[in-house]
C-alpha cells in the first residue's frame, strides 16, 4: 500500500478551501497551516501563464525529516504516511530545516506539526479533508499499489510532475499538468 495525492493544476483555482478545511478538521491554529497555495506566473502580458498549486507534506519515500529526527517522533506508518508523535517531539526543528518543501512548522504548543494525509479519516475509509472539500475536485488521493484507485488512473492518463525532484526525496504528491 502506498498513499499518494495528485493535484490537477488545470482545475485548481487557488481558492484555499483546502487550507481552511485542514485547519478546521485538524485543529490547526489560526496563523498556521499544513497546506497552502502557490502561484507561479510566467510570460509577458498578454502572453501569460499561471499555475496554481495546493502544496503540503510530500510524504516522501526517502524522507529526510524522519532520518534526521533525534527522538523518533517523526515516523512512517502504513501507506508511507509520515507522522509526528507530538509528545515524543522535543521541538528541535531539525526536520523543519531538512524538509525541501517547507512543509513543517512549530506548533505553539511546542511540537512540530504537518500534514497527516488525514490518516484518522483515511483509516475510517474517508478521504483527506482537503480532497473532500475541494470545489473543483482537483485532488485525487489513494493507493498507488491499486491500479484502479483514482490516483493510479489519474497518473496513468495525464502528464504530471513532482516538486524539487533534485532533492532526491521521492515525493508522493504529484501535479497533473
Amino acid at each position: 500500500m502506498r498513499y499518494a495525492m495528485a493535484i490537477d493544476t488545470r482545475k485548481c483555482v487557488g481558492c484555499s478551501d483546502c487550507v481552511v478545511a485542514c485547519q478546521t478538521e485538524n485543529n490547526v491554529p489560526v496563523g498556521y497551516c499544513r497546506d497552502w497555495i502557490t502561484e507561479t506566473v510566467d510570460g509577458t502580458y498578454p502572453h501569460v501563464e499561471l499555475e496554481l498549486r495546493s502544496e503540503r507534506c510530500n510524504h516522501c519515500d526517502n524522507a529526510p525529516c524522519v532520518r534526521c529526527c533525534p527522538t523518533g517522533a517523526s515516523h512512517i506508518v502504513e501507506g508511507g504516511v509520515v507522522l509526528v508523535t507530538h509528545n515524543e517531539c522535543i521541538g528541535c526543528g531539525a526536520c523543519i530545516q531538512s524538509c525541501p518543501y517547507d512543509a513543517r512548522y512549530s506548533h505553539p504548543e511546542g511540537y512540530v506539526d504537518k500534514c497527516t494525509f488525514c490518516i484518522h479519516r483515511v483509516r475510517e475509509g474517508q478521504k483527506p479533508a482537503c480532497v473532500e472539500v475541494c470545489p473543483t475536485k482537483c485532488m485525487y488521493f489513494g493507493d498507488l499499489d491499486d491500479p484502479n484507485s483514482e490516483i493510479s488512473v489519474a497518473l496513468r492518463n495525464r502528464k504530471f510532475k513532482d516538486l524539487a525532484p533534485e532533492a532526491g526525496t521521492k515525493p508522493q504528491i504529484f501535479y497533473l499538468i
Binding site: N27, V30, Y45, H75
Partner: protein, 748 residues
C-alpha cells in the same frame, strides 16, 4: 464630516470587547494529542446540525459539526444540495470564524451624544428595543410609515421586511440590485421576458462552450458554478474569457481576449455580426422563438470585427475564431450574464447584447445553455394582508429608471436627504441589516449627507462594520450558526428546500433577526404579523404543509419537491410563449422602445484614463465575500489585505517595487485612507490597476481588518448611472499613485 449631526463613532470608548487576538490564540476544539500523531476527530464522534451558509448569497446547504462539549468545530457541505454538492467553498468552510470572532457585536448599543464626539453605551435588549420601537413609531406618525426604509442583504432582511411591510412601508432596497446585478436582470427581461436571478440558471454542467465577459469564476466562488466549470474543464469544454486582467479562469481558457477596458459592447456587437453574416446562428430557434431578426441584421451590418478591432484591440481573427467556437458548440453554449455588472452606466444595454447573443446561439432553454429554473413553493405562514403604502421608492424616480423592477438603493439614499426633496415624500429613518453601506455604495459624500439628514438609524448586524458607526442603536444579531431562519427557497434545476437551525446557543447577548423583528413588531402594535412565540412554529407549520416536519428536517436538512410546471429545457419543436410584449424572444425590444431607450444596443465610447492615471478595476478573491469577511479570523488568515496589481511597464515608469506601499488618488483628488502594497504582475494591463474589493476597513473595532489594504469604494466618486434601471456604474474611475507617506489617520 465637520459639525455633522451624526458623527461616525470610531473609538471604542466603552471597551466594546474588541480585544486584538494574537496569532494562534483561537482554538475551537481544544487540543487533542494522540499517540501516533493523528489528531483529527472522526466525524462519527460528533453531532451535526443542518444549516445553509450565510457567508455569501449562494446559500449552500451544509452541516455544522460540534464536538463532545458542544463546541462548533467545522462546517461541511450537504451532499444533497445542488448549490454545493457536499463541498463548501473556503468561505463556507471558514464560516466557523464568523462564530468565533471575538470582535463580534455582543450586546445592544445606544449612541450617546457628547461634546468630544459621540460614543456608544451598552444597553439591555429591553431598553434598546423600547427605544427603537418608540422612535420608529414617532417618525412614522410624524412623517408617514413610508418614511422608514430598510436596506438589507441576506437572511435578516426577510424578517425585517415583514416588519416594514406590516408598518406600511415598502421602501426596502438591497444594494445587490442597483450596485450589482440589476442591469443584467433588466437586459434579460427585455429579451427573454425572464430575469436571470440567483443562482444563475447556467447549465455549465453540460456546456461545450462557456463565455465569460469580465466574470472571474473561481475568484468569485459561486460554488456550484465553479464546480461545474471545473467539470467542464475536465470534459474539454471551450472557455472564452474576456478580461483586461489575466484572471484565474483566463489562465484556464482556450481563448483569453485581453480587451481594452470599457469596450465590451463593441466586441459583443461584432460577435453578433459574425454569427449573422456568416450565417452561423441557430436558424430553427431564431425562426421559431424570436422576433426582430431583420432589424438586428440591419443594425449590426457595419459592426464588423474590423470595426471592433479599432475599439477593443481584439484582432478580427480572434473575434471571428471565438464567434465560430461559440457557434460550433451551439446550443450547448453559455455567454454568461455575469453578476456584478454595474460598470459604465450602459450596462443594461451590454446585458441586452449578451442576451441577444445567447438567443442567436439558441442557448436559452437548452441543455448546456440556460435551463428553466424552478423554485420550491413554500406556503406563507398565515398573517393579515399588509397595509398599502401611500408612496414607495417608485414615486421618487421622477421619470427616471423606468425599467427598474426592484428598489433602487441609491434612490432611497437620495430620498433621505431632506433639503433636496421637492415633495413631502421623505425618508427619515433607516434600518440597515447585513449590508455595510459605506463600503457598498459609491459616492460616499451623498451617503454622508443622508446620514446627516436622517432622524434615526438602527443597524442589525453580527459585526461592527463601518455602518454601525452611523447608528443610533445597534442591535447585535447572532450568526447563522446560532439561529433559525426562513427556509431556503432558491431556484435550481430541481426545487430543494433547506433548513437552517442553530448548532449552539447564541454567544453573548446576540439574538436572531426573527426575534428582533418580532420584538419590535410586538412593541409597535403589529403583533398580528408575528403571530408566534418562536420561529420554529412557523417552520414546522410550513414544513407540515409540504409533507414533512421540523423534526424530520432537523435530521435531513433538505427536502426535494416536485417541479411545479414546465420542463428543464425546451422540448424539440415545442411552442413556447415568452413573457415579452410580443411573446417571442425580442432582438428588437418593444419594452425598451416604449420606455424611450434604444431598442437594440448601441456602442458608446467611454472615457479612457488621462496620462498618468489608470483605470481602477476591482473584483473578488475566493476566500472573501466583499467586506463582510474581512475580519473573519480563518479567512483573514488566508488573505489579510488586498494589493494593487500593477503591470511591470507601469511599475517601471513609477519606480514601484513589489510590496511597496502607495496611496491611490483618483480623478477627483480623493486619496485613499490607507496605503496599499503594490503587486507588480504581468496579469494586468498597463492602462489599469486591479484591487480586490472589501478591504481598507476604517473601524477600529474590527481588530484584524482595520487599516489592512485599501477600500476601493472611497475612490469610486465618478458614478455613471444607468438611465434604464438606476444601476451605479463604478468602473469609470481613474487613479494615480502617491508614493510619499501621507500618514493619514483613518476616516470613516
Amino acid at each position: 464630516m465637520k459639525n455633522s449631526r451624526r458623527d461616525f463613532i470610531r473609538i471604542s470608548a466603552l471597551g466594546l470587547g474588541g480585544v486584538a487576538l494574537g496569532v494562534g490564540s483561537i482554538r475551537w476544539a481544544g487540543a487533542t494529542t494522540l499517540l501516533d500523531g493523528e489528531d483529527g476527530v472522526p466525524d462519527a464522534g460528533m453531532q451535526r446540525y443542518p444549516t445553509f451558509c450565510e457567508v455569501c448569497f449562494w446559500k449552500c446547504a451544509g452541516w455544522t459539526y460540534t464536538d463532545g462539549q458542544g463546541r462548533i468545530t467545522k462546517i461541511l457541505g450537504n451532499a444533497d444540495d445542488p448549490h454545493c454538492n457536499g463541498r463548501l467553498c473556503p468561505r463556507g468552510t471558514g464560516g466557523v470564524g464568523m462564530y468565533y470572532d471575538e470582535d463580534r457585536l455582543k450586546w445592544p448599543l445606544i449612541r450617546v451624544p457628547g461634546a468630544e464626539g459621540d460614543t456608544f453605551r451598552r444597553a439591555s435588549w429591553e431598553e434598546a428595543l423600547d427605544l427603537v420601537a418608540r422612535r420608529l413609531k414617532e417618525i412614522s406618525a410624524k412623517h408617514g410609515h413610508e418614511s422608514v426604509a430598510l436596506f438589507n442583504h441576506g437572511s435578516a432582511g426577510h424578517h425585517l421586511s415583514t416588519l416594514l411591510n406590516a408598518m406600511g412601508s415598502d421602501n426596502i432596497a438591497a444594494p445587490s440590485y442597483a450596485q450589482c446585478r440589476g442591469p443584467r436582470e433588466v437586459g434579460f427581461l427585455g429579451t427573454f421576458g425572464a430575469s436571470v436571478g440567483s443562482p444563475e440558471p447556467t447549465d455549465i454542467r453540460d456546456t461545450r462552450c462557456l463565455v465569460l465577459i469580465g466574470s472571474h469564476l473561481g475568484e468569485n466562488m459561486h460554488n456550484g458554478q465553479v464546480q461545474e466549470m471545473a467539470d467542464a474543464i475536465d470534459r474539454g469544454a471551450t472557455i472564452i474569457t474576456v478580461d483586461p486582467r489575466f484572471s484565474t479562469v483566463a489562465s484556464k481558457s482556450r481563448f483569453w481576449l485581453p480587451i481594452k477596458p470599457a469596450t465590451d459592447l463593441a466586441l459583443l456587437l461584432a460577435w453578433i455580426h459574425v454569427l449573422i453574416y456568416e450565417e452561423r446562428y441557430d436558424k430553427d430557434y431564431v425562426a421559431r422563438y424570436t422576433e426582430g431578426f431583420d432589424q438586428l441584421r440591419e443594425h449590426v451590418k457595419a459592426m464588423t470585427p474590423e470595426w471592433a478591432y479599432g475599439i477593443t484591440t481584439i484582432t478580427p481573427e480572434q473575434i471571428r475564431e471565438t464567434a465560430r467556437a461559440m457557434a460550433d458548440a451551439s446550443p450547448a453554449v453559455i455567454v454568461h450574464p455575469g453578476r456584478h455588472v454595474t460598470w459604465y452606466g450602459d450596462d443594461t444595454q451590454r446585458s441586452r447584447a449578451i442576451a441577444i447573443l445567447n438567443a442567436l446561439l439558441g442557448s436559452w432553454g437548452r441543455r448546456g445553455g440556460f435551463y428553466f429554473k424552478t423554485a420550491p413553493k413554500i406556503p406563507h405562514f398565515p398573517m393579515p394582508e399588509f397595509p398599502s403604502p401611500r408612496w414607495t421608492w417608485k414615486d421618487k424616480l421622477n421619470g427616471r429608471y423606468p425599467l427598474a423592477d426592484l428598489a433602487v438603493s441609491n434612490v432611497l439614499v437620495e430620498a433621505s436627504i431632506a433639503e433636496e426633496q421637492t415633495d413631502d415624500k421623505v425618508v427619515k429613518a433607516w434600518i440597515v441589516a447585513g449590508t455595510n453601506l459605506p463600503l457598498t455604495m459609491p459616492d460616499k459624500e451623498q451617503l454622508i449627507r443622508a446620514f446627516d439628514s436622517l432622524e434615526f438609524v438602527v443597524v442589525v448586524d453580527t459585526m461592527p462594520m463601518e455602518i454601525t458607526g452611523y447608528a443610533d442603536v445597534i442591535l447585535p444579531e447572532c450568526t447563522y450558526l446560532e439561529r433559525y431562519d426562513e427556509l431556503r427557497d432558491s431556484p435550481h434545476r430541481e426545487p430543494w428546500v433547506a433548513l437552517r437551525m442553530p448548532a449552539t446557543e447564541p454567544r453573548w447577548e446576540t439574538r436572531p433577526a426573527w426575534w428582533i423583528a418580532k420584538q419590535l413588531g410586538d412593541r409597535m402594535g403589529l403583533k398580528a404579523w408575528f403571530n408566534y412565540s418562536d420561529y420554529t412554529e412557523v417552520l414546522d407549520w410550513q414544513l407540515r404543509q409540504l409533507g414533512s416536519s421540523l423534526e424530520e428536517m432537523q435530521q435531513k436538512g433538505m427536502m426535494k419537491l416536485e417541479r411545479a410546471s414546465g420542463t428543464l429545457y425546451l422540448e424539440e419543436g415545442q411552442d413556447f410563449a415568452f413573457n415579452t410584449p410580443s411573446g417571442k424572444i425580442e432582438f428588437y425590444s418593444h419594452m425598451f422602445e416604449a420606455a424611450g431607450f434604444d431598442p437594440m444596443p448601441v456602442f458608446t465610447a467611454h472615457p479612457q484614463p488621462p496620462d498618468g492615471y489608470y483605470r481602477l478595476i476591482y473584483g473578488r478573491a475566493p476566500m472573501h465575500t466583499f467586506s463582510r469577511t474581512a475580519n473573519n479570523p480563518n479567512l483573514t488568515d488566508l488573505m489579510e489585505e488586498n494589493n494593487v496589481w500593477v503591470n511591470p511597464k507601469t511599475a517601471r515608469v513609477w519606480g514601484l517595487r513589489n510590496g511597496q506601499e502607495v496611496y491611490l488618488k483618483n480623478q477627483d483628488e480623493v486619496v485613499s485612507s490607507f496605503p496599499v502594497k503594490v503587486r507588480v504582475t504581468e496579469r494586468i494591463r498597463w492602462d489599469s490597476v486591479y484591487i480586490v474589493h472589501g478591504f481598507g476597513h476604517s473601524n477600529k473595532w474590527l481588530s484584524r481588518a482595520f487599516g489592512k489594504g485599501l477600500n476601493d469604494s472611497e475612490l469610486i466618486t465618478n458614478v455613471m448611472v444607468d438611465p434604464i434601471m438606476g444601476g451605479t456604474g463604478m468602473r469609470g474611475n481613474f487613479v494615480t499613485f502617491v508614493t510619499e507617506d501621507l500618514g493619514k489617520e483613518a476616516e470613516a
